[in-house]
């Protein structure tokens, strides 16, 4: 399993490449990206710096992808976004992570063809959806974050596409990601899904549950044996992401060393606990 890491600057790119990342991805402030509102898009100084960075990444065998995965193309204007994407491809960007098929359908046919990766926000839950996207030329899909490994397993077999999964222990949305209006909105900055609720006439507290450590480890083990890429998010500070990257490498090494899942669960427990502590 190879590692794809999210970056917010070219300094970060150098660190991840030097430490063994196989692929990097980032957002740009003038392209619709899911984490725009978090201010974590890459700031590019000028085209010269940008091209040097691409050369640096490629000279180390590392691919560079741009997330254009905010599905709200109406706000950004798809024509403007497509022009920018074409320019980025000419500069040497390897491809784009998209949620909307419209980008692929309307990308100029006479332009240099980028590699298309499907964002998990496309809500691809079954093999039929994969066939649809494969027919459009999508090369890789990201497994929908909240799928259990047992639900996703059918999608890996003979899909004709590469697959990637997020490190669920570090990032999982228990709601339909990209379709939830619960972050912000009625509940301000609080994450709606993390708030407990009582039912009328009951003192019992309800809330969306997060998977436990054992479930995190089980997911990782199953996905490590079935998916091609492990994707690390860019929604946190650099020091957090460096630690998560190192934990991810340790976990992958443990998967290779473990004789079976039970052995992995036992050996990896502390790492999953440490990942969880990063969020406390």
């Amino acid at each position: 399993m190879k590692i794809k890491a999210g970056i917010c600057s070219f300094d970060e790119a150098e660190w991840f490449i030097s430490n063994g990342a196989n692929e990097l991805y980032f957002g740009l402030s003038d392209l619709p990206s899911h984490v725009d509102n978090l201010g974590e898009n890459l700031r590019i100084g000028n085209r010269h710096d940008f091209e040097d960075s691409i050369k640096f990444a490629h000279s180390h065998g590392c691919g560079l992808f741009v997330a254009v995965n905010d599905i709200n193309v109406n706000v950004f204007g798809i024509d403007k976004a497509l022009k920018k994407m074409q320019l980025l491809t000419e500069c040497g960007i390897d491809g784009f992570i998209v949620a909307s098929p419209e980008f692929i359908l309307r990308y100029p046919k006479n332009a240099r063809n980028p590699e298309w990766h499907l964002s998990c926000l496309a809500m691809c839950l079954n093999r039929s959806a994969l066939s649809f996207y494969r027919s459009l030329g999508v090369k890789r899909f990201a497994v929908y974050q909240s799928l259990f490994p047992e639900e996703a397993i059918s999608m890996f077999k003979d899909s004709g596409m590469e697959s990637e999964v997020f490190l669920q222990a570090d990032e999982i949305c228990v709601n339909y990601d990209g379709l939830c209006q619960g972050c912000g909105g009625l509940f301000g900055n609080k994450k709606f899904c993390q708030l407990p609720f009582s039912m009328p006439g009951s003192s019992r507290k309800f809330h969306c549950i997060r998977p436990g450590l054992r479930a995190d480890a089980h997911s990782f083990y199953v996905f490590a044996h079935n998916a091609d890429w492990l994707k690390l998010v860019r929604k946190s500070d650099f020091s957090h992401r460096k630690q998560v990257f190192n934990f991810a490498k340790e976990l992958l090494a443990l998967v290779r060393e473990s004789k079976d899942e039970e052995a992995f669960l036992s050996m990896s427990k502390q790492i999953f606990l440490d990942i969880r502590r990063l969020h406390d």
Partner: protein, 230 residues
């Protein structure tokens, strides 16, 4: 002026206890647009026909296991009937039904998939409408409904609860996440919209809603109302 068609939305378990249906209701959605464990079965669709109403199979976004199950239900229904309308909420279900059953399955785009598609340009939605012969686009957003209708696309409007979010970690089956056999959804999954917190949000099954959705200025072709809200 065109009169809207009134539809009642029911969970499969509600259908078995159904006593009366308001006269103005001509269409019944059975199933759920949020949970794949609440799929309609052929007997539910047949029962609606027996009640003298038009059935629509409401399907949520489906993983492979439940997509196969849904296809089997539709195939069984089509052995006795010429056509069926199905409300779909993911692109995989849409393309599979279109490829397998062609024009015998009339497709309505469910509000979850419509919410996703509405983030594309209207040209995309129009293209998809042509390609798959879409009967209705379901939404609970006033602005979306207006935009679709201005583009000559038929709208089915969900009222009065507005979609807010769906969890894939069930509140009620927490101990049996993957075992529908061990957890009787039809018996234990609440059918009511339960107000949460200060009453800004309602929980029903695995989905959250806010209330009320605002009706669009133009009259939609169909209005979908939960059975309990009639």
């Amino acid at each position: 002026m065109i009169n809207a068609e009134y539809a009642a939305a029911l969970l499969p378990a509600q259908l078995s206890r159904l006593k009366r249906i308001p006269d103005k209701v001509s269409v019944i959605y059975v199933g759920s647009d949020a949970c794949e464990r609440l799929l309609p079965e052929c007997c539910h669709l047949e029962k609606i026909i027996d009640l003298g109403k038009k059935p629509i199979a409401a399907l949520p976004a489906l993983t492979d296991f439940y997509l196969n199950k849904s296809c089997a239900v539709i195939e069984e229904f089509l052995k006795k009937h010429d056509e069926i309308e199905v409300s779909v909420n993911d692109i995989g279900t849409l393309t599979l039904l279109h490829n397998e059953f062609s024009s015998r399955v009339k497709i309505s785009i469910g509000r979850i998939l419509c919410y996703l598609w509405n983030k594309n340009s209207i040209y995309f939605t129009q293209e998809m409408s042509k390609k798959f012969g879409i009967s209705f686009f379901e939404t609970d957003e006033e602005q979306t409904a207006s935009n679709l209708m201005k583009s000559n696309l038929k709208v089915a409007f969900h009222y009065p609860y507005k979609y807010y979010g769906i969890t894939r970690r069930c509140f009620y089956a927490q101990d049996n996440q993957l075992s529908a056999e061990k957890f009787s959804c039809s018996k234990l999954c609440p059918e009511k919209y339960i107000p949460l917190g200060k009453g800004d949000v309602f929980l029903r099954g695995n989905a959250y809603y806010s209330k009320p959705a605002k009706m669009p200025e133009l009259m939609p072709g169909r209005i979908i109302i939960p059975y309990d809200s009639y």
